[in-house]
Amino acid sequence: MTETAVARPAVDLSRLRDWLPKYGVYLAIVLLVLYNIFFTPYFLTWSNVRIQLIQVAPIVIVALGMALVIGTEGIDLSVGSVMALAAALIPLYLGYGVIAAIVASVVAGVAVGFINGVLVARVGLQPIVATLALFVGGRGLAVVISQGQLKDVRNPDLIYLGSGDLFGVPVLVWIAAALVLVVAFLVRRTVFGRRLLAIGGNRPATELAGLPVKRVLITVYVVCAVLASIAGLLAVARIQSSDASAVGLLIELSAITAVVVGGTPLTGGKVRVLGTVAGALLMQLVIATMIKHNLQPSTTEMVQAVIILIAVYVARERKTR
């Protein structure tokens, strides 16, 4: 027995390299949860879990779209601005009912996504530059629409989306979970999902194979922006006010972090939907743990940075294998 035990590590090391980028994020979550169970008072209470889930839900929703875009070897910096646009439009249309407000904010998402997609797929701009334009301009427009004012939202239906419960679980969390399933289904089961991965894997090859590359790319950016607009809508519903200058601020960075930590490579061709959810959860847990142990926000940021570096490093190891 001792002999096999000696021979094993070499095999396990190469296995570990395969295994770590795929499942490392889950392992980290388990470890962190275990730590908190033993060392953080009141961690394992439903009220705490509930708060964590509510806080992470918008990030998960935005990160899902981001994962799709990153799967095509792109990136979308404009998601926070899309949230702001959606938030700014809600008070204007809420008078016609919740449905009208939802439609208005989703239409804004479609419009922004379409512009992003056209800039990337047809004009041929680099995704980071194309979406930077709307990152800057989108929020500006949102502030203009809302006339720079914070507006309270009192529509009970909308507030239910943000603060209500269904079977004891926040509606917000149900919506995020449903969207996770939809996106996972999109990636695994649909023609669109397979094409998206192929484009990220080798764009010239998919063009030669006769795939409608531009159409797929535009659709990906539209889906990403629509998800962001839903996140914006839910953010307004939760805080019961619309503040275009604050909603979704810096969320693009949280979303990209969740995607990367979840094991989706920035080089495209692969999308880890569950990994992305886990990535968002992990970052949320890290922040919560730090706060509960009274560490400075600046310390939290540095720890986040280290986690991102580890995630990217682990992924790199696998590439050079």
């Binding site: 023609v191 397979r194 094409r195 080798n202 030669l208 006769g210």
Partner: protein
């Protein structure tokens, strides 16, 4: 004493002997042609000479001394400069700044002496026929002029050996003359030049000696004047004229399966694209394999890509089975039944991170799906059929294509094309870089597909493969159709004669 000497150098990459005991000598003031088809080892040899690669065996001797260049920088410092096809200078900096990059003249305060730099640059470049304002960004100059700047820079940093990799590929005829003037000047100053080109005219005009590489080995080296053009072509394509075998060494049956009276399944009319293609026209009948012959850079790959909609055309017309596609997009081409197997399998063919099944099903996903939802059962059926038919060896359909051998990758690519039920198959180097067994299988498959009535266009730099695989060979040179071999004249000799003849014009 030789200026630069390569002695028994070998370079091995996983699975390939890129250079196999290669030796050659470059004398002072000699213009030495280095020729060979794709994959012959020219680029590897150049990279060994310039310190990009280290030889696995053998040695370099520079001015009689054994030399080792660990990095391109070391080779450059020792006096070996390379002018690449693509100019590698800084397009946004001025011409003068590029010329003096890293060795800028300073004034007495240690600051950049712009006036002197611009003046000297202008004087120097005048000698190279470049009269443009040296203060303009390099990128605004014509490509030819940029190349001259690169050359001037190479000579300025005291180069003793200048390696030119297809320097004329983007030059106008007038610029070529200027370049040759400069080369003669360098020659007179005792600088050794290694000249890589596929334009035979140029070689005979400017070069003193020649070394021919094939499959990583030197097949000939000596004075160029002593070598007939047709012999040069024969050596490049790898056939001793006397020993062109009758039986053939490929898996092609040699039987024509086309019906001579049938309507063409593919008509290509007047394809033209700036610089690269000029009025290329030919027909392919069902069951016929039409070869595209010619040397590297003759426009074979461009023709294939243009038919498949992946190369920009200025004029031309593609018709498939009577349907006029004009200048199709890739989507239209695939829909009309054109399937293209690109030359560069890794860059434009396979999607390495995806599985065998995803790669095979890629182009036919809508047919494998209802309301946008893919049916795994349908995909599995197609994937299994082609994996069996093409004998694709993978641990499972879920294995990533990037992990397969070259031959199996190629088969996966062919399976993807066949799954679209094409009418016309365009194959660009279908057997490059794959092992002998897979090669024979692919060749057999091409025959089989033609027999089933597909029109096939075949490009191969392997003359045997082209001659034995094709029923008819359309010979290209510099983007122009210069001849067509049919019937009994589809032979290696005739192919070589047509290529060599064309070059005599």
């Amino acid at each position: 004493m030789a200026l630069l000497e390569v002695v028994d150098v070998s370079k091995i990459f996983p699975g390939v002997r890129a250079l196999d005991e290669v030796s050659f000598r470059l004398e002072e003031g000699e213009v030495h042609a280095l020729v060979g088809e794709n994959g012959a080892g020219k680029s590897t040899l150049i990279k060994v000479l310039t310190g990009v690669y280290q030889p696995d065996a053998g040695e370099l001797r520079y001015a009689g001394e054994p030399a080792r260049f660990g990095t391109p920088m070391e080779a450059q410092r020792a006096g070996i400069s390379t002018i690449y096809q693509e100019v590698n200078l800084v397009p946004l900096m001025s011409v003068a700044q590029n010329l003096f990059l890293g060795r800028e003249p300073r004034n007495r305060f240690g600051l950049l002496d712009r006036a002197r730099m611009d003046r000297e640059a202008a004087e120097m470049l005048a000698g190279y026929g470049v009269t443009a304002d040296v203060r303009r960004p390099l990128g605004t100059l014509a490509l030819g002029a940029q190349q001259m700047v690169a050359l001037a820079r190479a000579v300025m940093i005291d180069a003793k050996v200048v390696i030119m990799d297809e320097p004329t590929s983007s030059l106008e005829p007038r610029e070529v003359e200027t370049l040759f003037g400069v080369i003669r000047d360098l020659h007179a100053r005792g600088i050794g030049i290694i000249y890589v080109s596929h334009r035979l005219d140029e070689l005979y005009q400017i070069c003193d000696a020649v070394t021919i590489l094939r499959d990583g080995r030197v097949v000939h080296t000596g004075k160029l004047a002593d070598l007939e053009r047709i012999r040069l072509v024969a050596l490049m394509l790898g056939r001793e004229m006397a020993e062109v075998r009758r039986e053939g060494a490929t898996a092609f049956s040699g039987e024509a399966t086309a019906d001579d009276d049938a309507e063409p399944i593919l008509r290509v009319i007047g394809l033209s694209s700036r610089n690269k293609l000029h009025d290329v026209s030919f027909d392919v009948r069902p069951g016929e394999v039409v070869g595209l012959g010619g040397l590297l850079g003759a426009g074979r790959s461009e023709t294939i890509k243009a038919i498949g909609g992946a190369y920009r055309l200025d004029a031309g017309d593609v018709r498939v089975d009577g349907v006029d596609l004009k200048r199709p997009t890739t989507v239209q081409a695939v829909k009309a039944g054109i399937a293209v197997q690109p030359e560069d399998r890794k860059a434009e063919g396979i999607i390495p991170g995806l599985s065998v099944r995803e790669n095979i099903a890629l182009a036919v996903l809508p047919r494998m799906a209802r309301f946008g939802l893919v049916s795994d059962a349908k995909i599995d059926a197609v994937v299994e059929r082609y994996m069996t038919r093409l004998r694709i060896k993978a641990s499972s359909p879920d294995q990533a294509v990037g992990d397969l051998s070259g031959g199996n990758q190629q088969k996966v690519l062919l399976a993807r094309l066949l799954a679209t039920n094409p009418k016309v198959l365009l194959l660009d180097e279908p057997t490059r870089g794959i092992d002998v067994g897979a090669k024979a299988e692919v060749q057999g498959l091409i025959d089989e597909l033609a027999a089933e009535g597909l029109g096939v266009v075949l490009v191969s730099s392997d003359a045997e493969e082209l001659i034995e695989g094709a029923d008819r060979v359309v010979v290209l040179r510099d983007g122009v159709v210069v001849g067509t071999l049919t019937g009994a004249s589809v032979t290696t000799e005739d192919l070589m004669a047509t290529i060599a003849e064309a070059a005599n014009d």
